[in-house]
Amino acid sequence: MTARDAILSRLGGTMTPSAIADEAAALLVAPERPPVAMTALEETFAERLALPSVAASYDRIADWSEVPEAVRRYCAANGLPVVLCLPPDPRLTALDWDGVTLHDGAAPDEDAALAIARCGVAETGSLVFETSPEAPMLPNFLALHHLVIVPTLVAHLEDAILPGAQPRAHYWVTGVSGTTDIEGTYVRGAHGPRFLHVIRLATPLKR
């Protein structure tokens, strides 16, 4: 008998598949979760970003064309060279990046990387990403400064779930790379980003 058969032979249940599906669905009805008022999505999201466990800085723009200026603003405020790792996303590559040095492969000691989140989650202040040819994953973990454009907000984590076939990776970023592994003391920038900067784009662009 294979290991697979040996294990599965001991794990039989008594319920029919449809009864299992019904029970699984019932377990998701009205989940307990922090309440988020739909009328206060923006405020709640901004509040969560300010939590010590998230500690993201926050900027607001009205249009995609303002993205390069928001990046320059951030670099200037933080004394960074205006050098940026940019994903090959047409929404970004189409912009006027005058005065910003761009590259699209992250260096091992990358200073700053920009990315577009699919959405932000007001419940937790999480930023939701999926991988695709236009959205590599590694730069978002290598860079010291993680800059993220957030075009839309949802209330709860459940609202961020992608139905159907999943991308290679789907990930939620809720703060920076931190550790409390030495004497329980919190240190930012353990392996990945030490700084998270959210650029809230209030008017989503149609692709």
């Binding site: 794990l11 989940p31 307990e32 809720t174």
Partner: protein
Amino acid sequence: MSGGFAERVDAALADPILKLAVERTAGTAEAKRTLAIDAFADFEAARDRAAAIKDHVIANLGGYLERFEANAVAAGAVVHWARTSQEACDIVIGLCKAAGAKSVARSKSMLGEEIGLPHALAEAGITRVETDLAEHIIQLSGERPSHIIWPAMHKTREQVSVLFKANHRDPHTEETIAAMAESARRHLREGMLAADVGICGANFLIADTGAVCTVTNEGNAELSLVPPRMQIVTAGIEKIVPSMGHAVHMLRMLARSATGAPLTQYTTFYTGPKRPGDRDGPEEMHIVLVDNGRTAMREDGLAEMLRCIRCGACMNHCVVFRQIGGHAYGGTYPGPMGAVLTPAIDGLAANRDLPNACTLNGKCQEVCPVRIPLPTLLRGWREKSWREGLEPKATRAGIGLWAWAARRPRLYRTATATALTALRLLGRTGWLSNVPLAGGWTRHRDLPKPAAESFMAQYKKGQRQ
């Protein structure tokens, strides 16, 4: 640490630095959890739901595993099955060798520790880069984890500093924790980016998508798993949840119970290997589903233990763990959950002391996000140990009396009330410095004075209100 349980406890109790180090981290974790749960209005109902989700999965585990396998395979992953830790290690080492791997980056996984993967990799001559900061520290010191969330909680900053200076290429020059973390960042980044294989565990396996979920504060899982050309996941078969919606509920419970955050910083769901056109990600993804005693636990009255989501709350709140730390337990898993799991995984005969390292104060059960009745399961092990004649004669006589009295509730209550009164008389300042027959404990530590009434008495009062 070697020797029997009693020797390990003695050594731990005599170590003043250990107590301080454990107290610092566990104390902080306890405080943060309390804040997080006070801010979550329906936490008690959420615990019921979390327990029900896990019970539902455990009852239908076979079907869910098959569904997970089918979906993972459809996404391009290869699924392997292992009955034992040996089978699991053989599969992982075989994959590494087939890939010609010289080095692997490993993202902290308790299952990896449980199956002895670090040892197996060393034997195969494969360089292991532990990427979680705490795992890196204990790799350098040649120790085992002492906590499931903070594996190096027993180490002080001074000890870490010495280790880093002796091992890092470009170590810190300033004696601060931030500078030490920075030193590790420089040192580990190279190893992560150069690894041939990335190995991780799974916090959850999502049945209806075939995705594997990892959760880290450091982002080390992603840095370990995205660059190498092969990703290997080793996961216990109980890690299944039906869907992403169920995973969300469990993630809310896990983060709050472990670190007090609303959600852990990096939560990633991996579904199969790199897709056409993707710029990063592994060419191959392998998932090893490991039993190692879990089907037997399900059959032998320990199904509730399979609810465990490895949050560490039970040990942070355990008076015994806070005194002796994790190493004294001798197994992969310390604290109350370890005292239940270790005999199931490594056998009762060698671990019959563990279920006794418990005051049955019930604190672990009170904080467990999936309501595992840890004291009851521990009592089950005590009884089994007694039935199988593993207890020494003196203990057998004592437990025999206890069992006889416990089956006669009124007599039992009278007897415990008497004992409580006696203990209270001995306690002057709230801590007992000398208790007859408990010298092994009170030689180094004071026992907390018992509550004025037994739990049963308090419970009954509460019920009447």
